[in-house]
């Protein structure tokens, strides 16, 4: 008997009892679907993080507000903007490793162009911001010195905002848009950097303070929400970081022993750590899903054992008609394999559907790779072989005479 004949016999036997066959493979279906989904969501999260790491730019330090004490009470980090434009200036001038630096304040607002409008992040900053993040223009120009100094009514659009406000072929440069009733001229459109990064509109820092975000109670004329700074070389990150810390402690007059009112972070490093954490969690989830595969395998073994008992007479007949022990073994092994492969295929289909649904509903990026699918199918085959072997072996060992006597 050939493998092909084994599969034909198996398919015939399984078709006779479709509900039982389906229930038998349900464990495998669920196991494989979970593995595929976890892989898809996990690698989607990794892709998103990698994109974020790329979008921050290389060798970037980020300085955000830290703890603040008011009358001996520690306030939440960031509850007060502790950084100022003169801090930015000092960092640029006094720390040689720093190539570029910029302060930002940000909020959200509706941007309007003619009949179209779009809700987006408004980031008030200086041209240095684009230098730090290595962010090139797709068209137009950055802010001029005069515009930065005099709160010019100009805006640079991220590619998503440009796409949402302007018809294709309609050049945004020179067009008028409005943010909170203030008309602004579009002077630049940025290159694409990734879906999470491109949904933004930049205005000069002074403009943002004067016209949009200045009314917020915790912003004074000089303060910024965060600072980003670019370090010249990879090896200088640690040094630059401690120099910035020393400089700011000095400027903010923080006595030694007291907590800083700012935090210097290396976002790329933090995200890489996060990436490792995601990988760990994903592996853990895959391990849990594998348990379901194991349970699926046991359920297949269980049903196969019952099936061998039920079909003892059939086995006796096949042996009397010339079936060798290995033919009987192959027949039942093929049945287990077909169950697992079919379950695996349905599981892959379910997993792909599920992760696409998750992607759509939760807005997560998911990425389905052939490797995960291949791995799941290999797992299914292995499950079929491992858990199908014992019942198949048992069937092949039956004495044909005894088997023929059973009713």
């Amino acid at each position: 008997m050939t493998m092909l004949q084994g599969f034909q016999i198996a398919l015939h036997a399984l078709r006779l009892n479709p509900l039982r066959s389906f229930l038998t493979m349900l464990g495998i279906v669920i196991g494989v679907a979970s593995i595929v989904t976890v892989f898809a969501i996990g690698s989607g999260a990794q892709l998103r993080l990698q994109e974020q790491i790329r979008s921050i730019g290389a060798n970037v330090l980020m300085i955000t507000p830290g703890a603040v004490y008011q009358g001996g009470v520690r306030l939440k980090d960031g509850s007060k903007l502790t950084m100022t434009e003169s801090d930015v200036q000092a960092i640029l001038e006094q720390i040689p490793e720093i190539q570029a630096a910029a302060g930002s304040i940000a909020g959200t607002a509706q941007v309007i162009h003619e009949s179209k409008n779009w809700n987006t992040t408004i980031n008030g900053t200086t041209t240095g911001h684009f230098m730090v993040r290595d962010w090139q223009l797709a068209s137009g120009r950055y802010f001029s010195g005069a515009e930065e100094a005099a709160a010019g009514k100009v805006v640079i659009l991220g590619s998503t905002v440009a796409r949402e406000l302007f018809a294709p072929g309609d050049d945004p440069i020179g067009a008028q848009i409005r943010i909170m009733k203030v008309p602004l001229e579009v002077v630049g459109v940025l290159d694409r950097k990734g879906p999470a990064q491109d949904d933004v509109a930049f205005v000069p820092l002074a403009t943002a303070k004067l016209r949009f975000l200045g009314s917020a109670s915790n912003i004074n004329r000089d303060s910024v929400a965060y600072i980003i700074a670019k370090v010249a070389a990879d090896g200088q990150m640690a040094g630059a970081r401690s120099e910035i810390e020393n400089l700011l402690r000095q400027r903010h007059r923080i006595p030694s022993g007291q907590e800083d009112d700012f935090k210097v972070q290396d976002p790329a490093a933090a995200m890489e750590a996060q990436q490792g954490a995601i990988r760990t969690v994903a592996l853990l989830l895959v391990a849990i899903a594998s348990v379901s595969l194991l349970v699926g395998g046991i359920s297949i073994m269980n049903v196969m054992i019952v099936s061998v008992t039920e079909r003892t007479r059939e086995i006796g007949i096949r042996r009397a008609l010339g079936g060798r022990m290995r033919d009987i073994r192959l027949q039942f092994l093929c049945e287990a394999l077909v169950l697992c492969l079919l379950g695996g295929a349905i599981g892959v289909g379910g997993g792909v559907t599920l992760s696409m649904t998750v992607a759509r509903m939760a807005g997560w990026i998911t990425s389905i790779d052939g490797q995960a699918i291949g791995l799941s199918l290999v797992f299914s085959i292995a499950t079929g072989l491992i858990f199908g072997f014992y019942p198949a072996h048992k069937a092949s060992k039956l004495s044909p005479i005894e088997a023929l006597k059973t009713e």
Partner: protein
């Protein structure tokens, strides 16, 4: 004596079953030969060892003592796999309870032994058709066993036993579950097959059937108590419907 060895030769064959330490001698020291072209009736009361003997001739079981030779070869010297493939090619079994696979139609049942001869599906089905035709059951090729009468099921089972052109057909009470008229039809079918040269060994309780065979082997308590060769008195009427 012919130069070639007999088709089947049993030499001092005993078969003892051991259950819970109690030994039951189902067959004791039985010797006889079966030549090509014979039709042999095996008779004896229930429990006298007929089925046990048949299982050994059919390579399903091995003697505890003595030896069974198939065309001169001691079957105990063959591997289990070799005995299996001889069952597929050289032995045709017919059982009292037909033993058709309930979930396969007649033609699939008939073709089954050829699966174990490594023959492709197309040829299997073509040969199964011819075999069904030989027993007059071609018109029921796609019926399932439950849709067939007992006599029809036994005809399908005979077609299955014949499909690989076996050296010998072994029938264990083939008419035991049938009414006498249908039983006679099945017997006539065997007789017609024998006239074409097919060797047949048939267990039966019915002395009337035995008289239509050219030889009767009698067992009692596992021992051979009779081996008579009749003058040919096969039925004259035509067999296959």
């Amino acid at each position: 004596m012919t130069a070639s060895p007999p088709l089947i030769s049993l030499q001092s064959v005993s078969r003892t079953y051991r259950t819970d330490g109690i030994a039951v001698a189902a067959v004791r020291n039985v010797s006889f030969d079966i030549e090509q072209g014979e039709i042999v009736a095996v008779m004896g009361p229930s429990g006298s060892g007929k089925s046990t003997l048949m299982n050994m001739i059919g390579l399903l079981d091995l003697p505890s003592e003595g030896a069974v030779y198939l065309e001169g070869a001691n079957v105990a010297d063959l591997s289990e796999d070799r005995r299996s493939s001889l069952r597929a090619r050289s032995i045709g079994f017919v059982f009292q309870s037909y033993n058709l696979l309930a979930r396969h139609d007649a033609i699939e049942n008939v073709a089954l032994p050829l699966v174990y001869c490594g023959i492709g599906r197309k040829e299997r089905l073509a040969r199964a058709e011819r075999s069904l035709e030989a027993v007059g059951m071609l018109h029921r090729a796609h019926h399932f066993p439950r849709q067939l009468s007992g006599g029809e099921q036994q005809r399908v089972a005979i077609a299955r036993a014949l499909i690989a052109s076996p050296l010998i057909v072994l029938a264990d009470e083939p008419t035991g579950a049938l009414d006498s008229r249908t039983g006679a039809e099945i017997l006539a079918l065997f007789a017609a097959l024998n006239r074409t040269g097919q060797t047949i060994v048939m267990i039966t309780h019915d002395p009337g059937i035995a008289t239509q065979c050219n030889r009767t082997i009698r067992l009692h308590d596992g021992e051979l108590v009779g081996d008579e060769t009749q003058v040919q008195i096969l039925p004259k009427r035509s067999a296959a419907s």
